[in-house]
């Protein structure tokens, strides 16, 4: 019998393949290693990221689901809650106890109840509604607050880039 982390990841993969949530595709990069996944997220409709398809990489720890995975966009992103190198900063991905921004309550942290699907849905909603309180990308947070038009313009450029249009 394989390890519990592996079995759970396989179960989640099956679930995601059978009932894929709208606008999200995710699965292991290589079926020999279930601990590194690739995900494609479509930008939520009605936001500045609409129409974009954003690739991201998920790396799971060996004690998943007791510890959260790490998520990193592999395309260029400009968003208040995404670091310049693409790492995603949302509370659902932080284990209780480590709090990089010092504001998250433990109720919204990682717990084994969460899943890949919920993480990706949270990321979609994060794309739709950035939280400019936790500035993973301070420039983006500032622009989101003060110069929304410019922010939308940059987001659109990124969307076009992910689609290979420019």
């Amino acid at each position: 019998m394989a390890g519990s982390a592996l079995r759970r990841l396989m179960a989640e993969y099956k679930q995601l393949t059978l009932n894929p949530p709208e606008g999200i595709i995710a699965g292991p990069i290589n079926e020999e290693n279930f601990f590194e996944w690739e995900a494609l997220i479509t930008g939520p409709e009605g936001t500045c990221f609409e129409g974009g398809v954003f690739p991201a990489k998920l790396v799971f720890p060996s004690d998943y689901p007791l510890s959260p995975p790490k998520m990193q966009f592999t395309c260029e992103m400009f968003h208040p809650n995404i670091y310049a190198d693409g790492r995603v900063c949302i509370s659902i991905l932080h284990a209780p106890g480590d709090d990089p921004m010092g504001y998250e309550s433990s109720a919204e942290r990682w717990s084994p109840v969460q899943s890949v699907e919920k993480i990706l849905l949270s990321v979609v909603s994060m794309l739709a509604e950035p939280n400019d309180e936790s500035g993973a990308n301070v420039d983006a947070a500032k622009m989101w607050r003060e110069d929304r038009a410019e922010f939308n313009r940059i987001a659109e450029k990124i969307v076009r880039k992910t689609l290979g249009l420019s």
Binding site: M1, A2, G3, S4, A5, L6, R7, R8, M10, A11, E12, N19, P21, E22, E31, E32, N33, F34, F35, P44, E45, G46, T47, S62, D63, P65, L66, S67, N81, I90, S91, I92, A95, P96, G97, S106, A107, E108, S111, P112, V113, Q114, E117, K118, L121, S122, V123, V124, S125, M126, A128, E129, P130, N131, D132, E133
Partner: protein, 659 residues
């Protein structure tokens, strides 16, 4: 490409050097002597040797590992960097011995270390890959065999040379290879455990525990080795700087391993003593999927005080990290150890679940419904039984039950705060006119409990009042057999606070008795007059605002019997009863009111989601991370509203599909 060109250049240089020597000297021995005397020639030969070593390494890697994975390569690069710097530090220590042979030995050591790291990574990979081929097993087994043989040989060699030639740099090698031997042993144990797990058909729950203990034992060996090494080095040579980083990491991981074992043991103990096994009915009634591993629960499942059910092994490994319920984040350590019946515990938990609106309770049809008699949920389950058994007018027998039971029932969960304020509001015998406000106050979902408040001791009924003692003795359980020695000692503590706590407990009992007698007198008066002349209107004296927390201490629980023994809220009262009685009656609706709100919230929750899956992703699709945005962003314009509404529609279907 670059590696190939370097290899080629070095080969060409060597050929040139050797050819040149033969060309000059014509014979074997003179040319060898010529090469060893000439520094440039020797440099070329050394470079060639290095290249050959690297090539052999590559070959070994191909044989034993095949293609390296990216993560393995990264690990290797990181660790090699540290190992090289440490080797350079070690060179400074042995600069007198500095010789090609010495350098060669260090390079060999580095090489073997690299293979140990790779083997470690490979064995860890076993847990991650669904496909483990026979080639993998063959490679790992042969690698471990070769590595352990080499380590043993070098340890032996170092030992012999130290014994015969006295202390030298060989001590360092001896210790290094000893530590490598430990690593091989550790890898082998892990490999065996993983293999057993892979070949068994059922999940092996205890593997994690075995791994933990292996970690501790191996960590201990390593720490002992390092400390001995350090002492010997300091005595013979000087402070070995190169030793500090690995020693620090070993100590740290050893500490972590010990910590893990302690936490794990605590989790196991809690699991065995505090939480009941889930019964087959409960398993079939609920969703029957362990939310941690997403697999069905057939056996070995535990139910937490919040009624959530998990696999025992899943729960144990989670409790090693955190002592909260994975679903509702109820802090399980703050709930005092309830060693009474499981039903009592479940009733308390049910009361708590009602009061935390964010917690979707798992329905449990087998549980007694604490709402049936209109008593506050989960509070005073024993009182209810007791007073239902006894006729209401036996005054002296109405003494409160042994404090163990109120102690249990005032166990403070979020419900406890509200309910104690209810009872405080009803203590009209000694503290008249407490405002009945608190009992309808909404209770925050997960309020942080004051540290002393949740202890299994009879706390004063006023929530703001600080607990009387920081460390009260535990409640007397029904049977002493269930107590550990340590708990027994705590129970009989002769320390000052232990004695004081016992005294306080007795005083509380006395106050409770007095209050109960007083109240029952008033009650019998009221009942007598009520039966004589029935009056429909209840006088409403204005509630006085002030109350002294001191006088009310310990009387809190007494009115509850009146509520349970008089189920009809419209008890008739004559106008000539005392004001106290009138107030006691006035409080009654408020007492019976209070279960109303939680029960309604409960039904709402049951209508919505009962599996607890959707608690972090709200149906509106905004994840927990973005929940704070809505207040931060500027006032939404109509089209933003429209967008949000559309998104709501889009995502509202998802949580249901999750269930």
């Amino acid at each position: 490409m670059r590696a190939a060109s370097i290899t080629f250049i070095s080969l060409a240089l060597t050929t040139a050097v050797v050819g040149n020597a033969f060309y000059l000297k014509k014979q074997f021995y003179p040319s060898v002597v010529y090469i060893t005397k000439s520094n440039p020639s020797m440099a070329v030969i050394y470079i060639q040797a290095l290249v050959v070593v690297v090539l052999i390494g590559k070959l070994m890697q191909k044989v034993f590992f095949g293609q390296l994975r990216a993560a393995e390569f990264e690990h290797l690069a990181d660790r090699s960097w540290y190992a090289v710097t440490e080797t350079c530090l070690a060179f400074t220590l042995f600069r007198d011995d500095f010789a090609p042979r010495f350098v060669a030995q260090f390079i060999l050591l580095l090489f073997l270390k690299a293979f140990h790291w790779l083997a470690e990574d490979r064995v860890d990979f076993m847990e991650r890959s669904p496909i483990i081929s026979w080639l993998f097993h063959l490679r790992v087994i042969s690698l471990m065999f070769v590595l352990s043989l080499l380590d043993l040989y070098f340890v032996n060699h170092a030992y012999l040379s130290t014994v015969s030639g006295g202390a030298s740099a060989q001590i360092v090698f001896g210790f290094e290879y000893m530590i490598l031997l430990m690593i091989v042993l550790n890898i082998a144990i892990k490999y065996v455990l993983h293999t057993i797990d892979l070949n068994s058909d059922n999940p092996w729950d205890n593997k994690a525990v075995f791994l933990l203990y292996t970690e501790v034992v191996m960590g201990m060996f390593k720490v002992v080795l390092y400390v001995t090494f350090l002492i010997i080095m300091v005595r013979i040579f000087t402070l070995p700087l190169f030793l500090f980083r690995p020693m620090y990491y070993t100590l740290r991981s050893f500490r972590k391993a010990i910590n893990d074992v302690i936490l794990s043991r605590r989790a196991i103990r809690n699991m065995n003593t505090l939480y009941p096994d889930a019964t087959p009915e409960e398993l079939s009634a609920a969703d029957n999927v362990c939310i941690i591993c997403r697999e069905e629960m057939h056996s070995a499942s535990k139910k937490l005080p919040c009624n959530h059910i998990f696999h025992t092994s899943c729960l144990r490994s989670w409790f090693q990290r955190q002592q909260t319920c994975p679903t509702c984040r109820l802090n399980i350590l703050r709930i005092p150890g309830d060693r009474n019946t499981a039903a009592n515990q479940a009733a308390n938990a049910e009361g708590q679940a009602q009061h935390a609106p964010d917690v979707p309770p798992v329905p449990h049809p087998g549980l007694p419904n604490p709402f049936l008699n209109g008593v506050f949920p989960g509070m005073f389950p024993f009182w209810q039984q007791q007073f239902n058994l006894q006729p209401p007018n036996q005054l002296p027998n109405q003494a409160p039950p042994p404090t163990g039971q109120p102690g249990q029932s005032t166990q403070t969960n979020p419900a406890g705060q509200a309910s104690t304020s209810v009872t405080a509001g009803a203590t009209t015998g000694t503290a008249p006119g407490v405002q009945p406000g608190p009992n309808v106050m909404p209770v925050p979902p997960f309020p942080p409990m004051p540290p002393g408040f949740g202890l299994p001791f009879f706390c004063p009924p006023f929530p703001p009042a600080p607990p009387p003692f920081a460390v009260p003795p535990p409640m007397p359980p029904p049977g002493l057999a269930t107590l550990s020695d340590e708990e027994l000692r705590r129970l009989e503590s002769a320390a000052r606070d232990g004695v004081a706590a016992r005294l306080q407990c007795l005083q509380n009992i006395q106050q409770l008795l007095d209050a109960a007698v007083l109240l029952m007198q008033q009650y019998s008066n009221a009942a007598a007059t009520a039966s004589a002349a029935s009056v429909t209107s209840v006088p409403q004296p204005p509630p006085s605002s002030s109350t002294s927390p001191d006088t009310g201490t310990g009387v809190a629980t007494t009115p509850t019997p009146t509520t349970s023994t008089t189920p009809s809220p419209h008890v008739t009262v004559t106008s000539n009863t005392t004001q106290n009685v009138a107030q006691a009656e006035e409080k009654q609706p408020s007492v019976s009111l209070s279960p109303g709100s939680p029960s309604s919230s409960r039904s709402n929750e049951e209508k919505g989601n009962s599996s607890g899956l959707t608690h972090s992703i709200r149906p509106d699709g905004s994840g927990p991370s973005s929940s704070s945005n809505q207040t931060v962003t500027s006032a939404p314009s109509p089209e933003q509203d429209e967008i949000r509404r559309r998104r709501l529609q889009k995502f509202s279907g998802i949580p249901e599909s999750l269930d």
